[in-house]
Amino acid sequence: MATPRVSAVEHEANLSDPLSGRAPLLLGDRSLHGITKAVCRPVECVPSRAWTLFFVVSVAMMGLYVLTTAYLFYEGIGIWGVNNPVNWGWAISNFVFWVGISHAGTLISAVLYLFRQKWRTSINRFAEAMTIFAVVCALSYPTIHVGRVWLLHWVFPIPNQMGTWPNFRSPLLWDVFAVTIYGLVSFIFWYLGMIPDLATLRDRAKTRARKITYGIFALGWRGSTRHWKHYERAYLLLAALATPLVLSVHSIVSFDFAISQLPGWHTTIFPPYFVAGAVFSGFAMVLTLMVIARWAFKFEHIVTIRHLENMAKVILLTGMIIAYAYGMELFIAWYGQNPYESFSCANRAFGPYAWAYWIMIVCNVIAPQIFWFKRARQNVVVLFVVSILINIGMWFERFVITVTSLHRDFLPSSWGDYSPTFFDVAALVGSFGLFFTLFALFIRYLPMVAMSEVKAGLPEAKPHHGAEGGSREASATGEGA
């Protein structure tokens, strides 16, 4: 099936910024059935060869993760490059990287919902799925990093006969709570939002097995007014509950570093700066995946250039915030006149890991500046390339923070260097395998776009639609940003 025909006029309207009303969000076939068809098609058709190839490669990469982890359990974390003084290496960088990625989903689904950003409806399901898979990847690192993985349950405050408790003053314990709660709430939010769409899939199912499976997960949804009323209320409450989580999770992750006395880690701007960085990297990842998905599955008329442009704007905004934070760190390192702090800053920029620092600066600060230009924001190739650069840059940011601060101790006799081993690399590559495997399954079995929400943004969904003598509907084909 080809992409529905979209005229140049429609494209122009989609990208315009009318002063009254809002630009139409959807292009092409905007009928309720058309949306359903476009979204359900990837789930209902026979998987393409491309999907199968993608899935197989992802599973193979995930297999690498399983094998390297098995060897890690057998041999111990000595197989990684971590040692004194760099006790935290790639595993922590990966953990923070993946937690960061996860933030865009919650921001889109909860914060943008509270801010009445209707354009979110085309991308929120996709981003939320990404959130959950990224949290899974993130949680895998602390799990395998603990050394004695069979005692992992000790991270929870479980009453026991020895009266031993985890250290409640440790941000590592706060991490356990924060990330677990975040994963749970994100999952519930994602699932709740999907119930009406699962019911749609159930109703469209052609085989008995599909009907029963989707039927079970649709929880008996029949779309009655009572159902919708409860659904909307639960959605709003979960959005309000998830919003503080957007801030809290990465703030607590930043405390892992900031509450120490280590130069380069201990600085007060870390919590908000980490949150902005997380949203920055998360949006970059959504953009990377969305650019491919909308093309591969032919819903470019539902996720339009306008959606991509809006994401580019959020990336520019959060990119400016982290540039501000980098600047503040540099300024205060000088202003504070603490010799250790200024050494740490200079060492980052000009020391043995200067290459990583400059990759970070180029990718995170310089690359997104291109989004000041409208033409760059509307160019799919530029968007894709810059989003990849940001993904790389944000991984390097965590690497720079972790390694450069550790490898130069207060005592020069304790200085050391860090280099990753094969198993470090395998764990990072493998986590992408885990992520993509889950993603491949998601796009194969679940609706990628929140159909019911997209439809609720259409003009005919408005309570007063048609009652105003048609004065407004001319301009409104779904309200948006």
Binding site: L19, S251, S260, H266, T268, P271, P272, Q337
Partner: protein
């Protein structure tokens, strides 16, 4: 879309000459002058340093409100909001006080030697000496000039263009002006962010020249946004209660202002707590000294009052939808936040000289009333002079029709 505009009655858009609102400008002007004169009289009985600190506290309070207004206007155009059109004029009137505040900064600039330890002749502390490249008076004056150049420039252009829209009958020109403001907003926001940050470094952080925190700019920002949201909510509710603008600034706008108010109250608490936690945990003396001064004697009581009053109370009071949609209740909540914002500023500035406990004097009240009186006189004078809402904004009708769901 012009349909709704026709329904806006003239007496709703302008304050009637007989209205009590119109008498407020001279009243506040008189209060302001009286306050400043009282402050000068009281200054004779105390040290110059005490007078200047008291003045600085009051000044920062009103400056943070004006800067919050600038942020609101810039944000409105940056994100192309439509609901906030009808409350934007009040924020613009707030930014119009910036020239007055530039003038009122003169005593601080002239008295900088008596306020900032780093400016007091020979500095013996090697740490502070190391900062001399930044903390020196010529550069301090230069920066101050630059901040005001940015703020006055932004406030001037955005206000002028908005008024031009009011007067214009030409739909094309109106659209052009909105487009212009939308185009300048991103750059304006960057300039605003940087100038606001360094201003708070200069005027708050450097009061204790040894102390530093990367968060100071964000802290000041969070306080100033709480202030402007509270001020706008207060004014919207007060106008509503007096029967003004009921069809233009509706309960929906009250609701949204209330939501943003509680949102930024939470943001303020988040920022304040993050800084405190990071310093408390690491416990490095050069950083904790700042909190140390704020946790001795009666300062500790004020710290607790601030935590409870600026976070705990509004968290529960403003949470409810019903409160935000009841003008009287919103008015009380907003007034409370405006009062607590003063405590916040006082708590940041005053422990520098009152090391052993809170020492609130009549002088502090006089400077607050003095600067505030003049500030509000300008605000209410503009409120009377120009339409209460940006009548020329092409999105006004949408803003008026805005509904929460």
């Amino acid at each position: 879309m012009s349909q709704a505009l026709v329904d806006l009655r003239a007496e709703q858009l302008h304050l009637p000459k007989t209205s009590r609102w119109c008498k407020l400008a001279p009243v506040f002007g008189g209060l302001g002058i009286a306050g400043l004169l009282t402050a000068l009289l009281l200054a004779g009985q105390t040290t110059l340093q005490h007078f200047l600190f008291s003045y600085l506290t009051a000044y920062l309070y009103w400056l943070s409100l004006a800067l919050g207004g600038l942020f609101f206007v810039l944000l409105h155009f940056l994100i192309r909001a439509n609901w906030s059109v009808s409350v934007r004029r009040m924020a613009e009137n707030v930014t119009a006080t910036l020239p007055l505040l530039a003038l009122l900064a003169l005593p601080l600039l002239l008295g900088a030697r008596h306020i900032f330890p780093w400016a007091q002749g020979v500095v013996s502390d090697p740490v502070v000496q190391g900062k001399a490249a930044y903390l020196n008076l010529p550069f301090f004056y230069l920066r101050g000039g630059l901040y005001f150049a940015i703020w006055l420039g932004l406030a001037h252009f955005f206000y002028r263009w908005s008024l031009k829209q009011d007067r214009s009958e030409d739909a094309e020109l109106k659209e052009h002006l909105t487009g212009q403001m939308t185009r300048f907003a991103p750059l304006g926001m960057v300039l605003y962010g940087l100038s606001q940050t360094f201003a708070s470094f200069d005027w708050v952080m450097s009061l204790d020249p040894r102390w530093f925190s990367t968060m100071v700019g964000v802290t000041f920002f969070s306080g100033s946004v709480v202030a402007i949201m509270a001020f706008l909510a207060f004014m919207a509710a007060a106008l509503h209660l007096s029967g003004q603008l009921r069809d233009v600034i509706t309960l929906e706008h009250h609701h949204d202002l209330g939501k943003l108010l509680i949102g930024f109250v939470l943001f303020w608490a988040y920022i304040a707590f993050s800084q405190y936690l990071v310093y408390w945990y690491a416990n490095i003396p050069e950083e904790t000294s700042w909190y140390r001064h704020r946790l001795v004697g009666s300062w500790q009581v004020l710290s607790i009052v601030l935590a409870v009053g600026h976070f705990g109370v509004p968290l529960f009071f403003l949470m409810s939808r019903h409160i935000k949609r009841r003008p009287m209740a919103l008015l009380v909540g907003a007034a409370w936040m405006l009062a607590l914002h003063y405590i916040d500023i006082y708590w940041q500035v005053m422990p520098t000289i009152h090391r052993h406990g809170v020492h609130f004097t009549l002088l502090d009240l006089a400077t607050f009333v003095g600067i505030g009186g003049l500030f509000l006189a300008v605000f209410f004078w503009l409120l009377r002079r120009f339409p209460l809402v940006p009548v020329g904004d092409p999105r006004l009708a949408e803003s008026v029709a805005h509904e929460n769901f």
